[in-house]
C-alpha cells in the first residue's frame, strides 16, 4: 500500500481520511526555553512505572543512595528497574497515591535528596557500535528505559523482539499529536544530535537498515534541527507528516510512513517495523553513551489554569504539585487536571501523585478549554464519529450495542480494534462519551473473559475430581473384589486341602 509520507506535502493531507484537527495550543510554551525543576524535598518513586511486573526493591530504608543507583530491580521478563533520581537517603518504602484517576495507593520508595545530586560512577562503552546488538539491549534494560510517549512498555523487550524477528524499518515517533504537549518538540530542537544518536543505537540493537522519523509539520523548527542532525546518516530519514490527530498513534504512524498495516491479531513487528518514541531514543542515547539510567524527563506543564506554563526537566518522583508550584501555581481552579495530553490523558485524583517515566505532560485545564460538560443527548446518526475514527470503526453502532448491554455485539463490530484515541467523543455533536463507553465495554468483555476462564477451569477441576473419585471407588471396589476373590480362593484351597486330607484319611481308613 501507499506510504502517504513519501508523497508531496500538498497531497498528504487530502489522503489522510481519518482523525480530527483540534487546536494544538502548543505555542508559546513550545518556544520557551526548557527549565530545570529544583530538587523537591521528597521524591516518590513508584515501583511500577511501566507495563509489566513491578520492580523488586534492592535497598533498605535508611540506605544512602547516589543519583542513578539501582533501587529496585526488574522482576520478570517484562519489567523495568527503578533508579534513584538524585543522591540522598531512602527514608521510606510505603504506599502512595498513584498517578491514576482512581488515586489508589501503590508501592513507592521515598527518597530524601541531600542536595548534592551526585552521580554514581559510570563506565559507558567507548564504541557502542562495536558491541553485539544484544549488548545494547542489555544496557538499555539495565537503565530502566521504557516507552516515553506514555505507553511505558520496557524498551529493551521491544529491542530484543525487533532483533529476533528481524524488523526492516525502525519507526521513530516524533508526531506528538496531542494538543498542548511540546516536550518531544523541545527535545528535538534542543538535542537533535542525541536523539539521532539514540536512533542509530536502536537501529544497531535491532539490526534494521532504515529509520523513518515521523514529525508533524506543525513543528518546523524540530524538523529542521532533526534534518541537520541526521544529514550525515542516510539511514535516518526525517519525514514530515500532516498535523492530524492521532498521527502519533503507532498504527497510524506506521501506515502513513510505510503504507503497511499492523494486523489486528499481531504486533508492529508483524508488519516488519518497530516503533520508538523520540524521547525513548534520547533515553537510549543517554543510557548507552553516558551510562545514565532514566531518572529524569521533560514534562510539559500547561493549560489555561497554569500561571507560567513551560517545559520542565523534572526528576522522576517529583509530584505534580511540585511542578505546578514551580510554574507559578494555578491561576484559577482547574476544571480538570490531566497527566498526558487532553485527548488520551488520565485525569489525576490528586496533585500529590508523582511524575513517572511515561509522564509527558501535566495539564490544568479550565472549563472553557474542556468545553461545557453537556449531558449526553440522543445520537442523531450524523456519523461524524465514523469519519473521524482512524481505525475505520462504526462508533455509533458499537455505542448502540453497549447501551443495550450487549458488549459482545460491540466486540463483533471491532471493539477490540479501538485504540481509545477519543476522536469520536471529540466530534460528537450530542456529547456522547463514546470512548468512555468503549473503555467500559472493553473492561466488561475482559471481565467476562476472565470469569469464563475461571468457570472453565472450575469445570475442568470438577470433572477431574469426579473422575478421580470414580477411579478411586473403582480401584477400591476392584481391590475389595480381588481381596474377596483371594480370600475365597484361599478358603477353597484350604477346603480342598482339608478334603484331600479327609480323603487321604478315608483312603487310609479304607486301606486299613
Amino acid at each position: 500500500m501507499l506510504a502517504v509520507a513519501t508523497l508531496p506535502a500538498w497531497l498528504q493531507r487530502s489522503l489522510i481520511r481519518w482523525g480530527v484537527h483540534p487546536d494544538d495550543h502548543k505555542r508559546p510554551v513550545a518556544d520557551l526555553p526548557v527549565e530545570r525543576l529544583p530538587l523537591p524535598a521528597r521524591l516518590f518513586l513508584p515501583l511500577q512505572q511501566h507495563v509489566g511486573a513491578p520492580a523488586r526493591p534492592v535497598v533498605k530504608i535508611g540506605d544512602p543512595v547516589l543519583k542513578g543507583q539501582l533501587l529496585a530491580e526488574s522482576a520478570a521478563n517484562i519489567s523495568a528497574p527503578v533508579h534513584a533520581s538524585t543522591s540522598g537517603r531512602i527514608v521510606d518504602i510505603t504506599t502512595y497515591p498513584a498517578p491514576h484517576p482512581s488515586g489508589l495507593e501503590q508501592p513507592v520508595m521515598v527518597l530524601e535528596p541531600d542536595g548534592e545530586d551526585r552521580w554514581i560512577d559510570t563506565s559507558p562503552p567507548t564504541d557502542p557500535f562495536s558491541l553485539p546488538p544484544a549488548e545494547i539491549g542489555r544496557i538499555v534494560s539495565a537503565a530502566g528505559v521504557v516507552g516515553m510517549g506514555g505507553a511505558t512498555f520496557p524498551s529493551a523487550v521491544k529491542l530484543a523482539l525487533g532483533l529476533r524477528v528481524q524488523v526492516e524499518i525502525l519507526i521513530v515517533n516524533g508526531g506528538e499529536c496531542e494538543p498542548y504537549l511540546s516536550c518531544d518538540d523541545r527535545l528535538m530542537r534542543d538535542d537533535a544530535e542525541g536523539v539521532v544518536d539514540g536512533i542509530r543505537l536502536a537501529l544497531h540493537a535491532i539490526g534494521a537498515q532504515e529509520a523513518r522519523v515521523g514529525i508533524e509539520n506543525n513543528k518546523p523548527e524540530a524538523i529542521a534541527a532533526m534534518q541537520q542532525a541526521a544529514a550525515p546518516f542516510p539511514e535516518v530519514r526525517i519525514m514530515p507528516v500532516p498535523a492530524q490527530y492521532p498521527m502519533g498513534s503507532d498504527k497510524q504512524l506506521i501506515q502513513v510512513l510505510t503504507g503497511r498495516e499492523v494486523p489486528f491479531d499481531g504486533r508492529a513487528a508483524d508488519a516488519g517495523v518497530l516503533v520508538h518514541n523520540v524521547g525513548t531514543c534520547h533515553a537510549i542515547h543517554q543510557a548507552v553513551r553516558l551510562g545514565r539510567p532514566l531518572v529524569e524527563r521533560l514534562v510539559t506543564v500547561s493549560g489555561g489554569a497554569v500561571e507560567r506554563p513551560r517545559n520542565l526537566v523534572a526528576p522522576i518522583g517529583a509530584t505534580a504539585q511540585d511542578l505546578f508550584d514551580y510554574c507559578g501555581g494555578l491561576a484559577s481552579a482547574p476544571a480538570r487536571v490531566i497527566m498526558g495530553g487532553p485527548m488520551m490523558g488520565n485525569p489525576l485524583a490528586t496533585t500529590a501523585s508523582p511524575v513517572i517515566k511515561g509522564t509527558s505532560g501535566l495539564l490544568a485545564l479550565t472549563q472553557e478549554e474542556v468545553g461545557e460538560d453537556d449531558r449526553a443527548g440522543p445520537c442523531i446518526r450524523c456519523a461524524s464519529c465514523v469519519s473521524a475514527c482512524p481505525m475505520n470503526l462504526l462508533p455509533l453502532e458499537m455505542a448502540a450495542h453497549i447501551r443495550s448491554d450487549d458488549p459482545d455485539g460491540a466486540f463483533h463490530l471491532g471493539l477490540n480494534d479501538c485504540i481509545g484515541c477519543g476522536c469520536c467523543s471529540y466530534v460528537c455533536p450530542s456529547a456522547i462519551p463514546l470512548s468512555h463507553y468503549f473503555s467500559y465495554a472493553k473492561g466488561a468483555l475482559a471481565a467476562n473473559e476472565r470469569s469464563k476462564l475461571k468457570s472453565e477451569s472450575i469445570k475442568k477441576l470438577t470433572a477431574a475430581r469426579l473422575e478421580r473419585q470414580e477411579r478411586e471407588a473403582r480401584e477400591k471396589a476392584e481391590a475389595a473384589a480381588r481381596r474377596k476373590a483371594e480370600r475365597e480362593a484361599a478358603k477353597a484351597r484350604a477346603a480342598a486341602q482339608a478334603n484331600a486330607v479327609t480323603t487321604k484319611a478315608a483312603t487310609v481308613d479304607a486301606n486299613a
Binding site: V262, I338, T351, I380, E397
Partner: protein, 352 residues
C-alpha cells in the same frame, strides 16, 4: 494537596459542534430559497409557513412533556423547527391552514415521537408528513398557483391571504396553475407528449423560474446554493447529493435520448420538483440516511432512480418523497452490508 474535580474520561476537549449548531446551519442554508419563495408567492405562503412551523414546535413540546423529557434545551436543539420548515417547503403555497397542522401532526407525532424522538425515527419526518397529506388530501395538495409576488398587482393582500389560508376561500382561478411535472403527467393522460406539454406550459423547469410550485421547488438554484454551503461547512458529505442527482439524471438522459416524446430531459428532471431540495436537504437527513460512505452512495442513487421511476411511470407527478421513504426503510440493511474494512483486518466486519 488540592482537591481536584471528579475525574472524567478522556478526551478532555471537544470540537464545539453541537446538534443545535448543525440544525441552525441547515436552516441558514434554507433561508435564501425560503425568502425567494416568500416574495414569489406572497402572504399566503408566509402564513402557511408560520402555521406549519408553529404547529411543529407546539407538538414537539407536547410530545416531550408526554415522554417526560421536557425542558427548553431539548426543544431548542432545533430539530422540530427544521422538520416543520422542510415540510412547509414542500406544501403548495396557498394551501389551507389545516394542511399545515395535519402535516405537522404526521411529521412530529407520528414520524418522530412515536418512534422515540430525535434520532430514533427510521423515516424522514417531513416526508412522512408530506406523503400523508398527499395521499389523504390530493386536491389541496395539488392546487398550485402562479407566482404572485408580494405587493405586485393582482397578488392577494394580507387580508385576502388570511381568508385563503384560514377560512377556506377558494384560490382565485386566475392564479391557479400547474407544476411542470404535474402538467406533463396530466397532458400525458390526454395523449399530449412530453415535448409539447413542456412547450405549452411555457416553462422549461428553469431553476430560478417564474413558475408554479412549492417554496422548495421554485428556487432550485438557491436550494442548490444552500446545499453547497452545507457541503462547505461539512454538515453533509458529497455522497448522497451526487449519487441522488446521478440516479435521477442517468435514466432520464437515456430515456430522453431514446424517446424524447415520452421522457422529460435530465435537465428538466434535475431542476423541476423537489430534486435539489431532496438531494441536499431531504435525503441527507442525518438520522434517516446511512452512516457509511458506500452506503450513502447506494442510498442516494436509489432515491434518485426511484424518483425517476415514480415520476415517469406512476400516478403521482412527483415521487421524491416516496423514493426517500422507500430507501429509508432500507437504511439498516445498507448500513449492515457496507461496513468499512477495519484497519488491520483483511475483510470488513461481518454483518451480524
Amino acid at each position: 494537596m488540592s482537591t481536584l474535580p471528579h475525574p472524567n474520561h478522556a478526551p478532555h476537549a471537544h470540537s464545539g459542534v453541537k446538534v443545535s449548531r448543525i440544525m441552525a446551519t441547515v436552516m441558514l442554508a434554507l433561508t435564501p430559497a425560503t425568502l425567494f419563495g416568500f416574495t414569489l408567492f406572497g402572504w399566503p405562503s408566509i402564513l402557511l409557513w408560520l402555521v406549519t412551523v408553529g404547529a411543529c414546535l407546539v407538538l414537539e413540546v407536547a410530545c416531550l412533556r408526554l415522554a417526560g423529557r421536557g425542558g427548553p434545551k431539548t426543544l431548542w436543539d432545533g430539530s422540530a423547527l427544521l422538520a416543520g420548515w422542510l415540510l412547509a417547503m414542500t406544501l403548495p403555497p396557498f394551501a389551507p391552514w389545516w394542511i399545515g397542522v395535519l402535516g405537522a401532526v404526521a411529521t412530529i407525532v407520528v414520524a418522530k415521537h412515536a418512534y422515540g424522538g430525535l434520532g430514533q425515527n427510521p423515516f424522514n419526518p417531513a416526508m412522512v408528513g408530506r406523503v400523508a397529506l398527499l395521499i389523504s388530501f390530493p386536491l389541496p395538495m395539488t392546487t398550485w398557483v402562479q407566482p404572485a409576488p408580494l405587493f405586485a398587482a393582482g397578488s392577494p393582500s394580507l387580508i385576502d391571504s388570511l381568508h385563503i389560508i384560514f377560512s377556506g376561500t377558494a384560490v382565485p382561478d386566475a392564479l391557479t396553475s400547474a407544476t411542470l411535472l404535474g402538467h406533463v403527467k396530466t397532458e400525458a393522460t390526454r395523449g399530449v407528449d412530453a415535448l409539447h406539454a413542456v412547450m405549452s406550459l411555457g416553462a422549461d423547469g428553469s431553476g430560478l423560474g417564474w413558475h408554479a410550485g412549492s417554496l422548495g421547488e421554485t428556487g432550485s438554484l438557491l436550494v442548490l446554493a444552500g446545499g453547497l454551503f452545507l457541503l462547505a461547512r461539512r454538515i453533509i458529505t458529497w455522497h448522497i447529493p451526487t449519487s441522488l442527482l446521478a440516479g435521477l439524471a442517468l435514466p432520464a438522459a437515456i430515456g430522453h435520448a431514446v424517446a424524447p416524446e415520452l421522457y422529460l430531459s435530465a435537465g428538466a428532471h434535475l431542476t423541476a420538483g423537489a430534486a435539489m431540495l431532496g438531494a441536499f436537504f431531504i435525503a441527507t437527513d442525518l438520522v434517516t440516511s446511512p452512516a457509511t460512505s458506500a452506503g450513502r452512495l447506494i442510498f442516494g442513487f436509489g432515491c434518485g432512480l426511484l424518483t425517476w421511476v415514480i415520476r415517469t411511470f406512476a400516478g403521482f407527478p412527483e415521487g421524491l418523497a416516496f423514493a426517500v421513504l422507500l430507501m429509508n426503510a432500507g437504511v439498516p440493511l445498507i448500513d449492515r452490508y457496507t461496513r468499512p474494512r477495519i484497519y488491520g483486518h483483511g475483510q470488513p466486519a461481518k454483518a451480524g
